[in-house]
Symmetry: D2
């Protein structure tokens, strides 16, 4: 396969940095451009306040930061753009790229809920990529726009998918304990995060509740029918660098035999990205951890190179109103919840093309 | 009122230190003894690794640490003992004291669920203090043993009580984010609490679920009938010094008019400790905080000198199966959740005596 | 004494909040105005993101935030202004106030090193307040401008003063471990302060080295002769909310008998603010702590209501080039190092006036 | 080269875990045994509370934990033992091993200062390995005992070595800001490390001052002549997981031309481990970092896979008494400062043997 020329949009932020890290050594994607705003014209290695725990790749250091200008990127032969742009400017730029034939895999919020935009969480709803047919028809763009979900949603829906398929879901109540990196490099003051936590994240709960219903929905013809599932969420911020923890209470339609069976269903979950060995797909999407005090962010967030969700504290509650499953799940918010999910979405799209499924 | 001679048992630990802090300047209690184990014979000011944010009271510095010996304490005229003893040794010592006529107000776990032991959370169930009649009859002790609940339970039930009275409770699902001090001075290694959280606390969930049902139960004759309420809880530990946060989903029997009404019901809650102006009772047991990002441990834990529970993020969810109330609540775990609750329990007991209600 | 009408300039920031806290209940100062920028017109209680560990005083909640407008403040009868203004705008506003007859006690950097501006650290150099005579002559203002030093400098010079007087100082090498609050409410991202420290604070080392020489200098006629002392400093930021720790190596001119003598010299240090019982002066400016692992920020920063400096780890090093004294010192950066120092500076000024010393 | 059968002694602790991580994939060392105390008989994967940020190697999971019994290890063909034993039991076991012909590379404190025991910091004093000749003569053991220095010392001396060689050292004053992992998995309570720091580490300053003089000393015949250098140190503990930061003031005998020259001297430092391409030797022992706010633990500790020391904030101070160099240095305490240094010491020993230098 020829190497695809890629741009990372908004490459100096925390999600942009993860794109650079994850695309380092990718088998068929080559980053040729990195865009920014205030750092345009400087070498990436000098412009970025690199916060990833491993060193910045040498090739990335030497790339000169470009403006996020669709015309320019098209002219210079960029074929795909991975977007970590701020929500306020993402839509215009991403549409401009798609019009010019550049495919976009974007972590930015705008357009996620548009009916003709695939909101992709690789293993969960790869078939939703077929929405691009509707997108092409109605928009008339030469490129496509693919979106990955909000970080907490990506982690949650990966866990919920096998439960939905095996037992049915009636209701979900979730409390998140989210990492600081989710707020960006300068989004959260240190004064808030020493000897403290903040039980609120603006806009987060709406996204968890609504994006999940789209992702877990089923493709019917050209449309995704959102899942009719009641989800209630409370989002909190805790003093952790990377890794969102979520305490999930899920009411099931059918009672599992026992917790061992649930563990097998979760741990055995595989999907198209695994079958097709997509480069960014983890071997095990869900890892069920035994220790009674797991998952823990510092210890478990890099499972599956940050693309797996780790599950622990499984417990079956036989309530008067039916069986509930309690668990604590953990995923890497800027990998599985952002940059990794976007790259996997693009890999799914390419696989569908290669297999003639689109 | 004559000053009552008091001992603080296990006075060098974190809860013991809070007893000393809270009893400093108490109108009718005077600490004459502080007990310990490895520090016996040393001055308290030298033996204690004082971790309270205000200075150790001068009078306390000069007290020589005694052994937790019922015989000795009785001989030296101690009338009440506030116990912060470890669970493993508490029962024997506390029973020894009661037998010798010393009243005990104890934060230690053993005997909390005994049918003849009042498990008191001042404002919530002060009338349960009448169990001491049964206790005296069946045990034949001259003193009484009063218990306060587990820290998370004390905070949770104070919040639930007015909801139960006004709307009825059908189901409670709670996730706690608990402070480090709850594990004691050396209970939790620093390696676990930097860039991390631990989603498990041994024994905590059982206590929350079972103690709450006793506290919220009703006195029928000589017995407390536990409340028939389904409670599910998940306890996590986060890098916060003091202050337990709890995310509470409560299914109500009756739908409130709107969230403003709920706020008024909670904020207006008063009980006997307020009516009788007990020294340790806060003016407002529940403080409803407006800011969308509150309560926060560092900012709200000292509300009402640490005896109030702060409530925020109230939200009404009209679910298919009935109305749910979502909230985030916060209380000081070693004050309202431990030492303060024990002192208030003893004040309730004295008030009942003074008013001839026992 | 009649109560003086005071304004707190820049009252919503962290130092502004400390001014409000410390002036609550002041015997002769009454806060009538609080100024701000984006919050003008709103009630202070609603505008401020209050981060002090005790509640905001009721009277302060109800003050409507004014602009930092000298004309307006003069018209409304303000007599003294306590300034927590950002350096970029402080000079213009403070001069405007002084011209209109309003005295200014300011924590802002500009003008600190001006020869006619007293840079006051109460106990260390109260007599420098006499520079106001020169200031009045050369500037022709009706009011005066008093400055307090940079936070680290205030803590350091308070410790060095009795050593200088008793033993003489030849060289000082200091490493600071500074708290987050020193960077302001939003000055430092949380991403930098979890599992990390930053060994650099912009401009800090210059201030420590130069301001110290002015403060420790002696008044000769109308001028302060800066102390000819070599000071080298390295400033680091650590994950602590309040309380700057400083590791100080000081080369002495004369060798102390032993470390006990040094402890007595430091612990016995008193100065005019103590003799005159100024309201904000701590009983003991320097507290020598015994424990081998002290001072610690969370335990010692509120000593003397945050106005004392706590000293520990005293050790005498008999080096080839003379006697060095090693110590670790700690002070509250927004109280002794900012708001408290400014208030004390004004109290010194008033005392000098009242005693006819000016 | 045949693979050497190795045991990791005390393998479940933090340093033991680093041994396992670093020996994973080693070209000529194969771990066949892991020893412990309370975990004897269990599989390592189940016994260990694994705290390294990457996953535990599969081969290590399946090793059954043995007792630290020299007889047993000798019988089962162990050839080298890497020791992370507690100081209290290390000496007996390590001597027992050496008597039975097993070489020991040990991180444990005892015997470090013995004149016939090489205290090795690979690049700094590899030739000291020749002390084993004296050791063999005087002790009559078939195996040898090699020691690596205390963590802070390993980092410090690696930085000082090229300065000593190029400019001469007259005096060193250092303040350390040490990571939590240096105290072991359960050595430091979380209550001490949230919103706090501790300015004391038991025994650490003595080790820094004395071990450094031995390491920087020169081999004269069969003995190491300790360097006659005044070192003063203050050790503090800060809320960082891994990575010791040290603020170093070094008085030089000769003034460098400028700071650029110093940077070249440090950055260009190479030694035998680099020339011989020893497996655990980093390409660059010292990395001079440009950013004014570097080094930072979270960002720089994994430089050179944790074996490099990162240097920043270089500044030349022309003092009256001569030229001082100020810097902030950072090294990974459980890699360069412990397990990595021990493995490198053994690699040095083997290289000396292979080259016929012993």
């Amino acid at each position: 396969m020829d190497r695809v020329r890629a741009a990372v949009l908004g490459g100096t932020g925390l999600v942009g940095q993860r794109f650079i890290q994850l695309l380092d050594g990718h088998p068929f994607i080559e980053v040729t451009h990195i865009t920014g705003r205030s750092s345009v014209g400087r070498l990436y290695g000098e412009a970025v306040d690199w916060r990833v725990e491993v060193s910045i790749p040498e090739w990335a250091r030497e790339i000169k930061v470009s403006p996020s200008d669709p015309e320019l990127l098209a002219r210079e032969g960029v074929e795909v753009a991975f977007s970590a742009l701020p929500a306020s400017i993402a839509a215009d730029i991403e549409v401009g790229l798609a019009k010019r034939g550049i495919d976009v895999a974007s972590n930015a919020r705008p357009m996620r809920m548009d009916p003709d935009v695939p909101l992709l969480n690789g293993e969960v709803n790869h078939s939703h990529v077929k929405l691009v047919k509707l997108q092409r028809e109605t928009r008339g763009w030469k490129g496509v726009i693919l979106k990955n979900p909000n970080c907490s949603t990506a982690i949650l829906t990966l866990y919920l998918k096998p439960l939905l398929d095996e037992y049915g879901l009636e209701r979900v109540m979730v409390t998140t304990l989210q990492a600081i990196s989710g707020a960006g490099l300068r989004g959260l003051p240190a004064m808030y995060m020493v000897d403290n936590l903040v039980p609120y994240i603006s806009g987060e709960e709406w996204k968890i509740e609504n994006e999940s219903r789209k992702i877990l929905g089923s493709l019917a013809g050209d449309e995704v029918e959102h899942l009719d599932l009641e989800i209630t969420s409370t989002a909190t911020r805790v003093p952790v660098i990377d890794g969102h923890t979520e305490v999930v209470y899920a009411k099931l339609s059918r009672r599992p035999e026992d917790i061992g069976e649930v563990a097998r269903v979760l741990g055995g979950f595989r999907s198209a990205p695994q079958e097709w060995s997509l480069p960014t797909a983890p071997e095990k999407p869900l890892v069920v951890r035994d220790g009674e005090d797991r998952p823990q962010p510092r210890l478990d967030r890099l499972e599956g190179d940050g693309m797996s969700v780790v599950v622990g504290r499984l417990s079956l509650i036989d309530s008067r109103d039916g069986p509930w499953l309690r668990s604590v799940i953990l995923g890497h918010n800027t990998i599985r919840g952002a940059a990794g999910a976007a790259i996997l979405a693009y890999e799914v799209y390419r696989a569908y093309q290669d297999k003639g499924l689109l």
